[in-house]
Amino acid sequence: MSTRLQKGGRLIDRSKALSFTFNGKRMKGFAGDTLASALLGADQMMVGRSFKYHRPRGVVASGAEEPNALVGLGTGGRFEPNQRTTTTELFDGAVTASQNHWPSLEFDIGAINDKFYRFLPAGFYYKTFMFPRFAWKHVFEPIVRQSAGLGKVPQNRDEDRYEYAYAFADLVIVGGGIAGLAAALAAGKQGKRVWLIEQTAHWGGRAVVDGVQIEGTDAGAWVKEAVQALEKMENVTLRTRTMASGLYDHGYLMAYERIADHTPGDGRPRHRLWRMRAGHIVTATGAIERPLSFAGNDIPGVMLASAVRDYVVNWAVSPGDRTVIVTNNDDAYRTALALLDAGLVVPAVIDARPEAKGELPQAVRARGVRVLEGHGIAKVKGGKRVTGVATCIQAGEGAELEQIACDAVAMSGGWSPVVHLWSHCGGKLIWDDKLAMFRPDPKRPATGEDGAAMVTAVGSANGILAAQDVLADAHQAVGGKGTAPGAVSEAEEPLIPVWIMPQGAGPALRFKMWLDPQNDVKVSDVQLAAREGYESVEHTKRYTTLGMATDQGKISNINGLAILSDSLNRAIPETGTTTFRPPYTPISMGAIAGEARGEIFQPLRKTPMHEWHETHGAHWEPVGLWRRPYCFLRSGEGVHDAVNREIRQVRNSVGLLDASTLGKILVKGPDAGKFLDMLYTNMMSTLPVGKCRYGLMCNENGFLSDDGVVVRLTEDTWLCHTTTGGADRIHGWMEDWLQCEWWDFKVYTANVTEQYAQVAIAGPNARKLLEKLGGMDLSKEALPFMEWREGVLGGFRARVHRISFSGELSFEVAVPASEGRAFWDALIAAGEEFGVMPYGTEAMHIMRAEKGFIMIGDETDGTVIPQDLNLQWAISKKKEDYLGKRAQERSFMASPDRWKLVGLETLDGSVIPDGAYAVAEGYNANGQRNMQGRVTSTYHSPTLNKGIAMGLVKHGPDRMGEVIEFPVDNGKVVKARIVDPVFYDKDGEKQNV
């Protein structure tokens, strides 16, 4: 059983006991513990169930690479699933729960899957569950979802807050081990702005645990001095608990600082996301130990050798009294020494190499430990924890030689440099045969804006493992002056790559050799994928799920692709690695969102009348970043009733529309007319001062892009109204053409949308209302339809346009934005005798549809040309050119078979569903029913008391009176007659009075 040792533990403070719970059971740890060390210290070897087979799983690693020991941490608004216990610092009162089991961790029904492993190989869900078809959704998927997967989704709103921060540096060094510290010391002395960031709470990395001597003292003392020296340098910034999650173009580095994970609820932001711009990046990210593939290597108690060493030295945690070590290299012998130093027993070191005669193996032998050369583990004994191992000859097939009773197994298959950051932005790797590892290829680094390398890997991350070489590499990589700090560590003999143990293992053993414990991928799965033709490592990853999920295969990828290479009989570098993508380890969604939540999720644009609307029952509709009232609800009234009331008021008396959001772009200059003639399909240069003209804008593909009324203000000034959503886009569009194509045109543009408040006063009593305000002659003679006048209206500086989008007598009045609210109030007061009321966007939409006016985004969808909408009258035939003209000359644009705009009237008066398609006779080549049209706008018209619609129909205008069919839900068919799209006041008598 695992337990806390009496003495030692360099990171824990035994004077500060902390209590926490695991699955409701109270446990004790110390300040400085991780959740993993505290759990092991409390003899909790088994901490979860595996993804697919629900096998018992325990802690494997001691850092970010941990695949198994994930827990749900916290409660309520601070609950988060899949937290790695190895990187979670223990705090008092922590509530933790194991994952992926039912009903309990100890007794789990899903573990039955483990007995059926033969039926659940890689890709089993692609091969089974095919028939009957309905069963996937209703039977198989619910079962798979219930039994697979990791943690539970949080149900509460996150109680914590998060923030972004920005930083700029000449050099960012990632990793606070001895390589990072040596690089920071050398670079700091050169006066560079240096950041040194470390993902854990502690400086020094592995060297401190491994007993390395630096500059004549132990590594721990040297690290302390180095940090003190760096803290004194004003140009150096140090951050612990900060993980570089991703490297992007031009030195853009994202780092994730866990500020308050270990002090929850103390008022500080929980996480901070650093967005850094670095002149150069040094990755001193170290290396991760690889497991070995032997049968039963996933049983709780089988751990990485380096992790066992960490638990003993850092946290005084014994993984068990007796630990067998299995290795293919000398480094694992350091674990034997650490265990012996702690007074624990090492029954044997099982070394797969034919001989182990290096300095470290000899030192272990000298302490009386048996070293079995050329041996391997045939099988680990035990279920919920290790009880022993059976040995075999590594060169053989796994015949058991001897059983050794033990409580833990420390395994080491060599080291893999952490090359993630190096690779994120295009850095390439080379395979090092001698060390059996992929390491950064210094000839092919990620490059920056100047075309030079923007990343340098140093130390173990660069494939250099001996401490003295690590320090020299780091010092030299940043151009350090003088000599690098010197170090002494034991010399190591070369490793021999071992991908399967024993090398001739048969199927029975391979079925129990885990490659990726997090996703339950075994040696047999990768071999099956290879047999089934998966040759690309990327395809194999997706087929088998090797290297997916929260750990992204940090310990499993290299072993997996070695098996794949072996199965395909090719060299490992030919197989290559999967792509390394950010983030390095998962980062919280909260950190990604930062402060952008709630009210400040995005800016809200408000018209000057916004507050009035809010206090008068506005039912809001988002339009771009604006909010516009969809309708104004009175107490006890539904949306539909409110809309109908507003329409009746406009049609019978007068209503007000806040039209301030309409885009308003000033176009001014000697060439403004010429420019607008190119932009609009019709002629704007000939528009007289004082008049308005409706215009259409197309893109170069000929499709209708925006519409609106253009106003000629002065000889050289036009005001272009755009749709609400189109204002910024159209302004950008104008600038694009002016700056990049017609830069010789003398034209200025200005987006003055927010400079004016605009109100549409519409209805038979509109003129009477405005006359009550007084100050301007708004008679039919003084201000005819489609003209505008400037003046003082009721004391307000006003520009009054006689334009109508409702079909009624209508004035659109623009006043300075600062006076908008007062003007609105004045209109409401003056309109009282007419029962004036505001109307919203839905009333506006229905009234324009009753009039057959098109709406950008309804009648257009980016594939509709003005000709489709019978808008030929707004297309100039005189102009040689305008944007979109050439495109509209293409044969298929001129085709008579294009669907064209018509009105649609249902035979039974009902409303056709939006987007419904009209079917034609026959079927197309894909066996689908032929279509002959579709609905673009559809409403219930309170004015006509029936459903009205507009749509695009093949040969539509030539088929007036014909009835076409629209199949809708549940096999029903709506029949509609093709009619003129103008349903109301066809002659325009109402707007022209």
Partner: protein, 107 residues
């Protein structure tokens, strides 16, 4: 996230401040052009692994469009310059040629 220097305001702008505008130095074909010419203008774009000329707008800055020459593979930026030109400046072309002897020119 690229950084590009805006040649108008001199700001070293980050990609979030910029709007990408596709390939630079296109010749517009309007009415009277052949179908092939128009197709080329509207649809056919270079997609090189290497030197590329692009339109960018300093949208959340000075608002100006400018042009940039960069390598799509290494992300090296050779230079930025005014949008109001029909071809890349001669010194920029010379600089690219010196760095990339195999480069076949901007056309």
């Amino acid at each position: 996230m690229l950084t590009l220097e805006c040649p108008y305001c001199g700001v070293k702008a980050e990609e979030t401040e910029l709007q990408a505008g596709g390939e630079a130095h296109l010749k517009r074909f309007g009415p009277g052009s052949s179908d092939d010419e128009f197709e080329g203008y509207l649809f056919l774009r270079k997609n090189p692994k290497g030197v590329h000329f692009e339109r960018w707008r300093h949208a959340y800055g000075c608002g100006k469009w400018f042009l940039a020459a960069r390598c799509t593979a290494t992300l090296e930026v050779f230079g930025t310059y005014s949008a109001q030109t029909k071809e890349p400046p001669a010194d920029l072309q010379a600089k690219i040629k010196a760095k990339r002897p195999d480069w076949e020119g901007y056309k």
